[in-house]
Symmetry: C2
Subunit: 677 residues, 2 copies
Amino acid sequence: MIRRFRFGNPIETDSIPEKPPVTEEALPYFDVTEDGTELRLPLGASRVYGLGEQVRGINKRGWTYTSNNSDQPHHTETQHSLYASHNFLLADGLDTEEGRLPVRFGVYFDYPGAVTYDIGYTDTDQMRISFPDANYDAYIIDGEGDLDIISQFRALIGRSYIPPKWAFGFGQCRWSYMSEDEVRGVADGYQKNGIPLDMIYLDIDYMKDYKDFTVNEETFPDFASFVQEMKKRHIHLVPIIDAGVRIEKGYKTYEEGVADNYFCKDEDGKDFVAAVWPGKVHFPDFLNSGARRWFGDSYRFLLDQGIEGFWNDMNEPAIFYSEKNLKRFFEKIESYKGKNLDIQSFFEMTGLAAGLANNEEDYRSFYHDMDGIRVRHDRVHNLFGYNMTRAAGEAFERNVPEKRILMFSRSSFIGSHRYGGIWMGDNTSWWSHMKLELAMLANLNMTGYLYTGADIGGFGGDTTPDLVLRWLALGIFTPLMRNHSAMGTRYQEAYRFGHLDDYRNILRLRYALIPYIYSEYMKAATENAMYAKPLAFMYPDDARAAEIEDELIIGNEILIAPVMEQNKTGRFVYLPEDMRLFRFRSADDFDTEDLAKGDHYVKCAVNEVLIFVRKGHMVPLAKPADSVDQIDWNDLTWIGYPDGKETVYELYNDDGETKDYDPAGHITRIVKRGSDL
Amino acid sequence: MIRRFRFGNPIETDSIPEKPPVTEEALPYFDVTEDGTELRLPLGASRVYGLGEQVRGINKRGWTYTSNNSDQPHHTETQHSLYASHNFLLADGLDTEEGRLPVRFGVYFDYPGAVTYDIGYTDTDQMRISFPDANYDAYIIDGEGDLDIISQFRALIGRSYIPPKWAFGFGQCRWSYMSEDEVRGVADGYQKNGIPLDMIYLDIDYMKDYKDFTVNEETFPDFASFVQEMKKRHIHLVPIIDAGVRIEKGYKTYEEGVADNYFCKDEDGKDFVAAVWPGKVHFPDFLNSGARRWFGDSYRFLLDQGIEGFWNDMNEPAIFYSEKNLKRFFEKIESYKGKNLDIQSFFEMTGLAAGLANNEEDYRSFYHDMDGIRVRHDRVHNLFGYNMTRAAGEAFERNVPEKRILMFSRSSFIGSHRYGGIWMGDNTSWWSHMKLELAMLANLNMTGYLYTGADIGGFGGDTTPDLVLRWLALGIFTPLMRNHSAMGTRYQEAYRFGHLDDYRNILRLRYALIPYIYSEYMKAATENAMYAKPLAFMYPDDARAAEIEDELIIGNEILIAPVMEQNKTGRFVYLPEDMRLFRFRSADDFDTEDLAKGDHYVKCAVNEVLIFVRKGHMVPLAKPADSVDQIDWNDLTWIGYPDGKETVYELYNDDGETKDYDPAGHITRIVKRGSDL
């Protein structure tokens, strides 16, 4: 049951396609302050889940989180905001009618500004949710446990994005591969070493002067041919699109945006100027339907050259500096000069420099035209990246309606999950960020982001060979599987570290698992279910399972428990039911161990992958292939843990390109008897 | 067996009090490059331990570490240097004479500049150690396993520092308690709530304008009386001393240093100017014996007012900026002004601002007078903090020879362990930094730093109530036990969070354990043994024990396994032998469980502490007391795990103040039969 409660006069976010009517009842569970800007909930023993892309564990208790989309590459425990705002939570409520027994409920706050969730931080025993102003819709979702509540919520927000099948392959990225030749070298590095690959991502340097919808013709002299050359090698090129449009006379996108008044405005009604990678830019006003249509149609420049996938970046939006703020900085610096700088002034000065980027003041100094309504940016800040992705998604629907286009974004807000996936932002080559990915996977799945994954090996900082290998062993279970690293850091393609067999075997296992991963993804997407689930949801009566934050249920058949610490050759695992462990050295070299529900220490060398299959379940394995389109779905083998009865699996398959997702036409029910497994 | 190998013409560090003669043999185990600046060692399956204060785990494989003392508060996995340089390692060597079987050996590089240890980072299978120049002594230590090698090494470098007994109590710190009244408030906060406390630390604001050896007379109007007032309350005040001496006409320390030529010089022979907390400062030339004597004697200003303990800070030395570098920064900024700043220039500019502090160029621009030899600072950089601590330690020996004075430092180099302890630097309120403390404890004990501990609750960033509680539960086993937090962060004294019983019970358990902690510390210090040991050392034939990095053996009788993750009520533990678990809710409320060698999941609520006692061992518990001097050593109870035979414990006790450490006079052999336990 979903009830909608209204406070004040909310700004429309379009995150809910079809809204239930507003109820006149009082908001249950929470104490609401008189002005409506703060809600309080006693926490009791409640575990709190949700918030999608955020720091810390699956259970969000014990910290303060703010929905405030931020270009924040330091994903440490003390951050409060990352690139996304996903205002959905699961908690216990005291149902007064039922005698104050805790009942599980979900809540979604449809509000486009900064919301703060103090979940037992200030007061261990209380949650406090606060809004800058009391204009929001709150949706309370009651149901039969977490999975049911999530399923209702997901139905409310609409079906999650479905990418083309090839996007379930492995992709390699770097900021940046600078030329055709460098890209060819990466393709060679994989293909000559027999390591499968489906995508090479193009970061900002494929463009001319970082201008969206241009290609640098010196380094990519015949882009359309190059796209075809790569496609013949079964590799899709996936270029980046940035939010800011370079101010440059004669540059088509700039000229069009100015002419049609499609850019965000400053206080004086002039096109707002910020600086990002291209230097000075204007921001397309993605909150305006006309601007959205115009910008979305611009992707045709690349679609027409054979491109079938994109990633949208810098769309929080990131701002390196604004003209106004930089001027103020220089003035302040001037006032220090020659003075006997005291230490406080020194820190003020270095703080000013550090504070130029993504300055909150800048976000208060430009405006949107929401189809006739002028709104200051900060009030709708979290909608910006969402509507950039929506601009692209709606345009693809218009321009190539028959075809799935790969699309994922850095910034997001619930609603954008219908138009694309997200990656988990600019992480670092830290073991702790591998753990963070696992936790985020669970919380992102709750909020509708199924096509997601972290930058494997870590984006910032230098990686290590073992971190890449272990992270790949987690990454083979994430729908979006991409290795990505930043300029100036160690190269981390899978063929860079010697011990080639280890990297090859793990990536070939990914491809063997694609029938399973794709089936489970498609079923989760079409049924508003979760692809990656915390154990707590599957085993709600198991107190031990409730605390597990380093294992996940992937799809419906398997549990994963990756090794996420350096210099370890095994780990502890809690199994919430009897399972069969498959310890893979490669897709066709594994041993098995039947393990009873309970605690186990399992060995897992740095080149091994553990898959735990539930009793009575089975999983298809394809023969290893070099790309997704070369997988033979008619030649599957099965691994499983028969329980004496028939073992059934519903295999979903389709052409991977068109948009007919009707399960009836695509699901095959496979039945095996024990002796067949 | 210890052999000393000489390369080139080393600078004297005084880290080894009595050196064995140089051997003419070739350096074993390593391949040495012709110029002697790089050593290579095949790693095989070797676990590598050592390096003292460094990032990452107990086993150092898989990263690059540089000995380069750094004011680096971001202790993330991608750092290479922290505040200390401890050039001691344990690894496997191939002993050619014995048929190339791996043998365990230790190596100490006596070299005062930057040494880089690439331990399987570039090449998974190889260690590469490199020096800027080939002037160093290498000590190779062969022995019967890790503990024996360490014991030999520790004998070589001399007995570890021993603090007064009261320094094993709990201390509270904050940057800063600004006045007598604020300090009284903290004392009240503890004592009125029945929470024991022995020390309150005074951070930089107790001084007048951050001048060493001054007191702000407005906020601490009668310091000597205040010291006595606190002592009557059983609380020692422990003031900070910074490395930089403020440039101020008429300020005694400044005038003396200038007059006697005791400050470091710039290229032109003038006193080198840097900026730190006090503004412009000179650095005492701690590498000069005269300057050391002078600066050490200056502590008398505070000793004379009743102070009995100090902490030395900012002695890497930290440099916020140098005059020369700041000038260059302003010039550069000037050149940007008015220009249409391109993005590269923008990042250059913000990079310049961020790079002003602790700039390597500054470390190459001043000089020491090493008793007649002029040496550029960067060549002996890692000796600076060490010799500040030594200055104090040698002065205490001269001025108060009969008395132990508490002394610990931020920066260190092997050698300073004889004069004081260290704390683990400016950490952050991260759960991962609790894990880092546990790993560092092990590696610091190897290198002679027994009196050590991390800032409990985390120094930077806002802490959480559960993090403080869990961290205290680890901290009760560290000799230096201090809660410390930075300006601008959440207050985190143990009485700040409600649930007072939980904090009180854990801290009272610390005091109940002090007879054990003190005994084990004194035995470890006097026998060149480790107080905190990785399981790998105690159980060298146990492959599982070898990988455990979240448990430690404390002293000789117990194993600890703290919960170091949020929202958990238990954890996995591997026990390398049969043990009895004592699960403490308070010093006199616990339950027990006998656990066999092997894997266990054990419950541990947020207010509980786990102590695992080895079979056949026992541990004394004192009655809880409000301060160390109120502990009744004649009224001990015992917890243990009898094995049917007599259980023996060697209890060390002394007056805690004088320097007679002869075990014969202080050890009582306690024998219990099973029925007494």
